[in-house]
């Protein structure tokens, strides 16, 4: 049994799902603290300490949560994610599904009419087959049959999809610098305050810059890839390289002629002609020299495409070099700030 994940969005740009995201709530909740303070500050005279504490705790928690997104993404690229260890044998899931089928039939035959008993029976089946950590069972009223019930099998999605974490990361990134500013009450009179505020702004601005690249670059890349995608170009270049290696074999002179051609950025007609002549001098028959030259020219052009695509593709990641180091520094400063507050 395979479980598909519900709630996939429509096809379309990323910003649309960011705007529709429920993570807005987090943004609003975080900002409600300074907003409430602003509205009721006259009545809250004397409570400044608590306001400072609330904004500080929220900002620190927000940054921690935002950093967990990066950790989650990293860990799921390795086999060590705890969720990957939840795997149960497919046969257990199948067996559970068969037994749930029997339960569903019994429900439709009117043998069970108590919702609680159905929930218990369904959960017992999941537990008996050892699949309770993987599937969630929901007993719902059957629309077609008044008074009847249906048992739905849903995936557990323990940590939630990375996409949800990304949305949360984005909104936390927007909310936290504002909290940092309020936490320092807008004053920049200490080195720590200047450093924290500056870094918070840098992290958010670079994050927004990255998001803009994420929104724009895939479209540009897709247009550039309309003839040959990066993956295809990569596979093709390897295949051409293999063919060339086979054709050239151990002939050192031919190898050097081909290598110097392939190292070029462009396959010009003159250069191809020179390579063909070099190959003939290296002992290749005219037809073979022609074939190998064509292969090498193809490889030069595929490699040029690949590097052009790669340049654009790199935009999708290089912005992180200006986002992650300030973010790490910011986290370190936040930690130092918290320790120093408690220490002194």
């Amino acid at each position: 049994m395979a479980l598909s994940i519900p709630d996939s969005p429509d096809f379309g740009p990323l910003h649309r799902s960011l705007l529709k995201s429920k993570a807005w709530v987090i943004f609003l909740a975080f900002l409600s603290v300074p907003a409430l303070w602003f509205v009721f500050r006259a009545q809250l005279v004397g409570c400044e300490r608590y306001f400072l504490l609330a904004t500080g705790v929220l900002a620190a928690a927000g940054y921690l949560l935002a950093a967990l997104y990066a950790l989650r993404k990293f860990i799921h690229r390795t086999p060590f994610a705890h969720e990957f260890a939840m795997r149960v044998p497919g046969t257990s899931l199948d067996q559970a599904e068969i037994e749930l089928g029997v339960l569903r039939r019994e429900i439709s035959e009117g043998k069970h009419s108590n919702r609680g008993a159905i929930v218990r029976a369904a959960n017992a089946i999941a537990k008996k087959n050892g699949v309770h950590k993987v599937i969630a069972l929901r007993v719902v009223a059957d629309d077609d049959e008044p008074g009847g019930f249906g048992v739905q099998t849903l995936p557990r999605n323990p940590l939630g999809k990375t996409a949800r974490w990304f949305e949360t990361h984005f909104f936390l990134g927007l909310a936290c610098p504002i909290l940092v500013l309020f936490h320092g009450q807008g004053s920049l009179d200490s080195t720590m305050a200047i450093a924290l505020n500056t870094l918070a702004v840098i992290v958010t601005v670079t994050g927004l810059f990255g998001l803009m690249l994420w929104l724009k670059t895939p479209t540009i890349l897709t247009r550039l890839e309309s003839d040959l995608s990066t993956e295809e170009a990569f596979v093709l270049s390897r295949s051409l390289q293999r063919q060339l290696n086979t054709r050239v074999g151990e002939n050192a002179a031919a190898r050097s002629a081909v290598e110097s051609f392939v190292a070029r950025k462009q396959a010009t007609r003159d250069r191809a002609e020179t390579t063909r002549q070099d190959l003939e001098q290296a002992g290749f028959a005219a037809a073979d020299a022609q074939d190998v030259t064509v292969l090498a020219a193809q490889l030069v052009s595929v490699k040029a495409t690949l590097s052009r695509l790669d340049r654009v593709r790199r935009r999708l990641t290089t912005w992180k070099y200006v986002h992650i180091p300030p973010a790490v520094l910011l986290m370190a400063l936040v930690a130092i700030h918290i320790v120093s507050v408690f220490w002194y």
């Binding site: 086999p79 257990s92 996409a163």
Partner: protein, 477 residues
């Protein structure tokens, strides 16, 4: 009953009486005996169960739920009777249900054993005979084109209809030839083409659809298109005289025919899936190219959830458009309606599970590569067999081997040692039937046993998701 008496009783069943001694020996060795209590469900309508079952004792009953929602009893099953051959032969979901009416003993033949016996002509003849009878009966009850007809009309059709099985690539009707019948597709898929300046695809006909209606509605006498089976296809053929007779006396039949004539699958919708003369599947992994930030998390997650560290996902695939959004249909199993891979595997190493997923039975796979060649979408890849000493780069990493600089070297060294050890061992690697294993076939298993599909679950932008491929193209009909 002791085992000898049990086997003697089996040998007397007409189904097994004609088996060769070798075939019966295989049956005796590899069958599974199952005992069930009254009320147990032995087969459910709509389920994919590719097991073939023979009742040895007890009584079971068979029924189906018709499209109208009515339950139709299909009779009782007693000792010596069998069921499940429709699924076992065609790989299609079951069209009926079977329930034990009393304490029953039955024997179950899993795919490899069934296939082995099915290779014997006498056994195959019996199975094919009952396949035709049952498929015809069940389809006439389930076909949307016939739903709501009077019993007398249905009886007339039943008496004159025939089930024909067309292998992949065979022509069912030629453009310009006389229209001799109305055709109902029971399973498989049919492509219609018109000649002109090159071959032009005019439509696709999937299970439960029909073709030939237009000839009866506008009175034309010749086919205006050529119809070709895109996979092994079961067709119910209702001859012209019977169709004319039913249409003359039943206004309802005329109404249904009009409806069906307009219900052709949209012309271009399946062209991408059908480019290889094959049949679409039910599930595709689609990547929204305007969202995909090329981070490769999907592929790396796929690697991470598989012990052998080989990705099942390749982001290369067909480019289609959902509206104006470019979408790549990644190379990942479609769990086809008609799994060519399963039909091509002679070792029972691919089967459908009860949820319709097409899965490998690793223990049976010998790595012959037939499935890989048969899959029209190039989904199945062959990797060196486990323990064959050739599995470079597929060993699972230890935590410390992921460390920068030193990690890769430690991994390389451990791998080299393992390969040397394996090369020293003379033990041939064999499958469950004792046949030497030369490689291993792999494809997307939808992260079997996990509560999510790792690629979909971990994509930060939700660029990759499961879709019904038809939904990308299909316009309402």
């Amino acid at each position: 009953m002791n085992e000898d008496r049990f086997l003697t009783a089996l040998r007397r069943f007409p189904l097994f009486a004609t088996l060769s001694d070798h075939g019966f020996q295989q049956l005796a060795t590899h069958h599974q005996k199952e005992v069930v209590e009254a009320g147990a469900s032995l087969l459910s309508q709509g389920d994919y169960r590719d097991r073939f079952c023979v009742l040895v004792s007890g009584v079971a009953s068979s029924f189906m739920v018709e499209p109208s929602g009515q339950r139709a009893d299909l009779g009782t099953i007693g000792p010596g009777d069998y069921f499940g051959e429709l699924c076992a032969v065609s790989g299609q979901p079951s069209s009926s249900s079977v329930i034990a009416e009393s304490h029953c003993t039955m024997i179950v033949l899993e795919q490899p054993l069934f296939r082995m016996l099915y290779a014997e002509p006498d056994f195959a003849e019996l199975i094919d005979g009952s396949y035709r009878d049952r498929a015809l009966t069940l389809h006439l009850r389930a076909a949307p084109l016939l739903s709501g007809l009077e019993t007398s009309d249905l009886d007339l059709i039943r008496a004159n209809a025939e089930l024909e099985v067309f292998p992949k690539g065979t022509t069912i009707a030629h453009e310009g030839a006389p229209v001799g019948a109305l055709f109902l597709v029971r399973s498989g898929a049919v492509k219609s083409t018109r000649s002109g300046s090159g071959e032009q695809v005019t439509g696709y006909f999937m299970a439960n659809s029909s073709f030939g209606e237009r000839a009866f509605l506008d009175g034309s006498h010749t086919w205006t298109e050529t119809y070709v089976a895109m996979a092994k296809t079961d067709i119910v053929r209702i001859d012209r005289a019977t169709t004319d007779q039913v249409l003359a006396r039943s206004p309802k039949a005329m109404e249904l025919l009009h409806e069906a004539a307009g219900r052709i699958f949209e012309q271009d919708e399946l062209e991408v899936m059908g480019h290889n003369q094959s049949v679409k599947g039910g599930d595709a992994l689609a990547i929204d190219m305007h969202r995909c930030i090329r981070c490769n998390v999907c592929v790396e997650s796929c690697v991470a959830v598989h012990e052998d560290r080989v990705p099942r996902l390749s982001k290369r695939g067909h480019r289609v458009y959902a509206g104006d959004v470019p979408v790549t249909l990644a190379t990942s199993c479609y769990h086809c309606d008609i799994p060519e891979c399963m039909l091509a595997c002679g070792f029972g190493a691919i089967r459908r599970d009860s949820q319709g997923m097409v899965r490998f039975v690793e223990a049976n796979c010998i790595g012959c590569g037939s499935c890989s060649m048969a899959c029209p979408y190039g989904v199945i890849r062959m990797t060196p067999a486990p323990g064959s000493g050739e599995r470079r780069g597929v060993l699972k990493h230890k935590l410390w081997e992921t460390l920068p600089l030193v990690g890769p070297r430690m991994y390389e060294r451990r791998q080299q040692k393992l390969i040397e050890q394996e090369q020293k061992s003379d033990e041939p690697i064999v499958n469950a039937q004792g046949i030497p294993v030369t490689a291993k076939a792999i494809k997307c298993d939808r992260c079997e046993g996990l509560p999510f599909e790792a690629c979909v679950y971990n994509c930060p932008t939700e660029a990759i998701r499961r879709v019904d491929p038809g939904s990308l193209f299909r316009k309402p009909v």
